[in-house]
Amino acid sequence: MSPGLRQMHLAAHFPGVNNTTVWSDPEAGSHIDFSSFVHLAQTAERAKFDLFFLAEGLRMREHAGRLHELDVAGRPDNMTVLAALAAVTDRIGLMPTITTTYHEPHELARQLASLDHLSGGRAGWNVVTSSDAFTGANFRRGPYLRYEQRYERGGQFIEAANALWDSWRDDEQRVDPAAAAVGHGTPPGAFAFTGSQVAIAGEFTVPRCPQGRPVMLQAGDSTDGREFAARYADGIFSRHGTLEAGRRFYADVKARLATYGRSPEDLLILPGATFVLGDTDAEAHELAQEVRRRQVSGPHAIMFLEQLWNRDLSSYDPDGSLPDVEPDLDSDVRAQGSAQARSLNRDALATAREWRQRAEAEGLSIRELVIAMTARQTFIGSPATVAEQLDLHVQSHACDGFILVPHITPGGLDRFADDVVPLLQERGVFRSEYEGTTLREHLGLR
């Protein structure tokens, strides 16, 4: 470690249920077999990553009333697969994404605290809030929560979980059978939390876990989301991958911390990032082109456009020009379960106009436009170039590290681990050995 240099944190994101993940590559393995999870988690641990990250989606995506079958689909339960990974890893943090809307605080807090015990202090939680009625159809309560209430529920959920995790004192953690009785006023584990969205009481059976509380990331980007993170989270899974946008976001969020009596180092900014490596920069760029074409097939491009146009565009040629009809604003939204589609539909007419203008100006077909807009990798180059870029982002306060999303399962991180990490270590910005044993220690959090 070099004095004065900011240290980088790295997370490995298991390739997701979306078109970033290239399943058609000959190297692409299973997305559901445990062996794939083992491979990626062990690769990340070999490279001394801070944590292994899993996204969540509690309903299969649909398009025009039918299951969306072009992308990878099928995933395990996050908590369960991470508990199993704790058996085949030793140090790396284990971070599930979990929505506060359709989980219940007692069950979740209990499983997370159990994971923390069973992994020796490596549990995390990436908190997301949603109010997605489509997903609600898979749960007892159905679509019960209004969009504006999602952070009300989220905040209470976290406070309830914290109350459960704090319901045993540190010294109650282990019982010495010989020592036995201790006369407390309040029995350990007793809890009660009352709020407008969460009202629970009972006994928490899990003694205080090794980290006290699991490490909490947050992934919302609205003003409410940023405040929420500044108040509760240990880190943010951000979407601001470029240097300039990253610096603005970084400054914005870190400035919010003082309101809650917190310091800048109490909240880490970790943008999601994709990468393509080659022996030379030129080779990497060529490869990146190829990856983008694989990520966006013709049917993909049409479906992407349908998310905005909200009408059947199957008669259009993906290699031809954009539709001249306007988006359908009156019908129900065709794409369900896609965050991308939700954000696109907010101002469909203006967005469609922008896309048409860009396609005309640059002479792009439908597919080329979709590739240009959606499939741009964050870091492309030789290992030396990528290492330098990553370091630049961290040293310029655009972020504190990255959540890296490989596009191939399960081997997509192999080359990064072998070729980029040693260069980061040489630069003195990334650990060569784990110094602590818990995730909180890896991240330098109190």
Binding site: A73, T80, A84, N138, F139, A199
Partner: protein
């Protein structure tokens, strides 16, 4: 020629053992049910004994016993979530089935189904769910303002919960993933199904986010030999665990018949707490000593056996003759009684030629002699018709 069916053996793992005072035994000094090591050791010991499966027990409340002797009072002991424990131990084993306890009343069937399916993936086909039912109405407070059914009605919601879980396990057909390079389709939506469950207690659309697990349907076990629990067990369970008392087996067979099921489709295991020592009096003395620390005489819903492993072998064979598929033993205290089972009882049953010498199957259904079920959604025609109708 009459052929004795395979004998099945399971153990139920509960903290330091089933006796509430077990943690006060000198041997329990190293037992730390909050550590992964504790559970890995117990489950490996069970695997060493070639047992069909272990159950990882769970409860949402802390143990609160009352001391019957002066001196150190029993105190609350911590307990981890059983599904997390089950997943944590799975990669350390390769033969034994791992059955995690979880309730129906307080859980979301969608999440529960994906958790048990995932346990089946990480154990490569050795997962089961011990579905726990009788939740006290006051436990509703664990999930906020919601009522928990009381009386016989409390077995009605669990039956529907299990229906939903089973439906979700089938919602992907085994060959749904096609990776078709020509049409760019990763899976075939004709082979992935909405379950569209609309019942009295749930409306769940599906499909699952998790593909069909290796066993198709992971094993569901239910404890209950009488009353409404027995009705639930006989309609839903692959494995019924019941105290071998009186006419329990006859009642179970009658309930199975009433539910339209064949006895051959279900394994019925005798539910027995075991205190095993080198002679009967040592076992009895040990149990008495534990009872002196905390009285259990009125508490156990299982039969209680105190004696030697050899005598227990006779008893196990007698239950088997009677028609039980085997026994699910609850070690009074671990590691003592667990080791007496795996290193005393099992070798004796093997010597008598009634128990396996090696694992003969690589899934829990296989060990139990249960077939991998067909998928209820069949060949995908149903959804093809639905799509065509749009």
């Amino acid at each position: 020629m009459f052929r004795t069916p395979q004998l099945h053996l399971a153990v139920a793992l509960e903290s330091a053992g089933w006796h509430p005072a077990a943690w006060r035994e000198p041997q329990a000094r190293d037992a730390d049910p909050l550590s992964a090591r504790h559970w890995v050791e117990q489950v490996r010991e069970a695997e060493r004994g070639l047992l069909d499966f272990v159950t990882i027990e769970d409860r949402r409340r802390l143990h609160s016993g009352t001391a019957t002797t002066p001196g150190p009072a029993p105190r609350a002991r911590g307990r981890l979530d059983a599904i997390m424990i089950a997943a944590r131990v799975a990669p350390h084993t390769e033969g034994v089935g791992i059955v995690a306890a979880a309730g129906t009343t307080l859980t979301e069937p969608f999440l529960l189904s994906t958790q048990i399916a995932t346990l089946d993936f990480v154990s490569r086909g050795r997962a089961g769910w011990l579905a726990q039912v009788p939740t006290s109405p006051r436990d509703a407070a664990y999930v906020g303002p919601r009522s928990v059914p009381a009386g016989d009605a409390r077995f009605d919601e669990p039956a529907e919960h299990i229906d939903v879980v089973r439906g979700l396990w089938d919602s992907w057909e085994d060959d749904a993933e096609i990776r078709d390079a020509v049409t760019h389709r990763f899976f075939d939506r004709g082979r992935v199904h909405h379950i569209d469950h609309e019942g009295r207690h749930f409306a769940i659309t599906g499909p699952s986010i998790t593909p069909r697990p290796p066993q198709g349907q992971p094993v569901i076990a239910v404890r209950g030999g009488s009353g409404p629990a027995a009705a639930l067990a006989s309609s839903q369970a692959d494995v019924i665990i019941a105290a071998p008392k009186g006419l329990a087996l006859d009642r179970i067979h009658a309930a199975l018949a009433a539910a339209g099921r064949e006895p051959a489709d279900v394994r019925v295991l005798a539910d027995v707490v075991a205190f095993l020592d080198r002679d009967r009096s040592a076992a009895t003395e040990r149990k008495d000593r534990l009872d002196g620390l905390e009285d259990t005489r009125d508490r156990s819903d299982a039969a209680v056996y105190t004696g030697t492993a050899l005598e227990l072998a006779d008893q196990v064979m007698a239950w088997h003759e009677l028609g039980y598929s085997g026994v699910a033993l609850r070690p009074g205290a671990v590691p003592h009684d667990l080791q007496a089972i795996t290193r005393g009882l099992v070798p004796e049953l093997v010597r008598r030629g009634v128990f396996r010498r090696r694992y003969e199957a690589d899934t829990l259904r296989g060990l139990l002699g249960l077939a991998r079920p067909e998928n209820r959604f069949g060949s995908g025609e149903r959804v093809a018709v639905r799509d065509a109708a749009r």
